[in-house]
């Protein structure tokens, strides 16, 4: 298929079906798609991991991966490898948007240039997984995300801004934020500002470890409770100033 530009693989069968399928017909042929630009995959991580080592896509520009309910299992060694070998999928300095909702968690990564076309979308049905655990899983799906420089965090769910976190969750959030070494700009949606405030209040001695490269923190004016201002002031005193940007939405 030398001219194939778009490939979508979508499955509904259960994980057990996929395991049986792979058992009976294991992938054994290496395939190069010399012209493939877009790859969409909505299925299980088991199937994805079985396929990825056997395909080469030198020109891939858009990769869309969704894992269905109960069909995301770790580890996934081939996914990061696949992403890192795709020459046109370079994430250093890119923009990422992390979307959390009641039923799913996803992350989109856009290139450094503001083309408006995402290069990568990875998502999964998060079911009963907490927000912080879902975010952690997204980070595990692609350490590549940790190279992004501009990050937007959104939550649109039933709980809205009334999400209640235990201290354990906040500690996990703090650890996740510590891992975002290259983020220069962080935009936080209204439902997460309060949580971010609580995290920042817990920072204490690890002030400089949280988002160490941060230059700008953006959040809706209507939910500013002062914690971000306090954080910014602490960073200024530590000679690592950040700019606070209050938005209308």
């Amino acid at each position: 298929m030398p001219q194939l530009e778009t490939l979508w693989v979508i499955t509904y069968p259960s994980l057990r079906d996929i395991e049986i399928l792979l058992l009976h017909t294991p992938v054994m042929t290496h395939v190069t798609f010399p012209n493939l630009r877009k790859l969409g995959f909505h299925s299980s991580s088991v199937l994805l991991e079985a396929i990825l080592p056997w395909m080469t896509t030198p020109l891939i520009e858009n990769f869309n991966v969704w894992f269905r309910r109960n069909q995301l299992t770790f580890p996934l060694p081939h996914l990061p490898r696949f992403l890192s070998t795709a020459e046109k999928l370079k994430f250093t300095g890119s923009n990422a948007t992390l979307d959390l909702a009641d039923s799913f968690a996803s992350m989109r990564v856009y290139p450094r240039q503001e083309t408006g076309i995402y290069q990568l979308e990875i998502g999964f049905s998060r079911q009963h997984l907490g927000l912080v655990e879902s975010t952690a899983q997204l980070f595990m799906l692609g350490s590549i995300f940790l190279t992004v420089e501009h990050l937007t965090l959104n939550y649109e769910g039933r709980e809205g801004s009334r999400i209640h976190y235990h201290n354990r969750d906040l500690t996990q959030w703090r650890d996740l934020l510590k891992s975002l070494c290259n983020v220069k700009t962080l935009r936080v949606g209204p439902s997460l500002v309060h949580q971010l405030s609580r995290i920042l209040q817990l920072v204490g001695e690890s002030l400089m470890e949280i988002l160490p490269g941060l230059k700008e923190l953006s959040f809706p004016r209507s939910v500013n409770d002062g914690a971000c201002t306090t954080f910014a002031e602490a960073r200024r005193i530590a000679s690592r100033p950040i700019t606070l940007v209050e938005t209308d939405h």
Partner: protein
């Protein structure tokens, strides 16, 4: 019919409406034999039917530009029983086709990413209730007609 038709590019577009019936599968296999004419393929069928058709996808397809394969548990019997809630959700979880923003409207846009109908809130927390609602350009895709 294919043997006597003009050698125009072929679009094989099975949206699952025929539920993978034998006659329909045979028609697809015949069309797949015209390898040098097949431009787009979209197959939506259960696993068993899909295996048959995929087996016919043999050899080089020099002009094939888009391939969409969807295994649907809602339209047939898989290898293991399908959980009841999955069946119920799939009935509402149909996809539609959006125009591929990278191509002119008259071109072969039939294989653009699928759109999931937004499920009602009661369903949303219990299933894979969301797939990309936007294409890679970030455009909101139209709902199915």
């Amino acid at each position: 019919m294919l043997a006597h038709s003009a050698p125009l590019p072929l679009i094989i577009d099975d949206r699952g409406r025929t539920r993978g019936s034998t006659n329909y599968k045979e028609g697809i296999k015949l069309a797949l034999q015209r390898r040098d004419r097949v431009r787009c393929i979209r197959l939506v069928m259960p696993l068993q039917g899909m295996q048959e058709v995929i087996a016919a996808l043999d050899g080089e397809y020099p002009i094939l530009s888009s391939l969409y394969i969807e295994l649907s548990a809602s339209m047939g019997v898989g290898l293991t029983p399908t959980p009841p809630q999955t069946v119920g959700l799939c009935a509402s979880d149909k996809f539609s086709i959006a125009h591929n923003c990278h191509r002119p409207r008259h071109s072969l846009s039939c294989l653009a990413p699928p759109i999931r109908l937004p499920l009602s809130r009661s369903f949303a927390s219990s299933a894979f209730a969301r797939a990309p609602a936007r294409d890679p350009l970030g455009h909101h895709l139209p709902l199915p007609s």
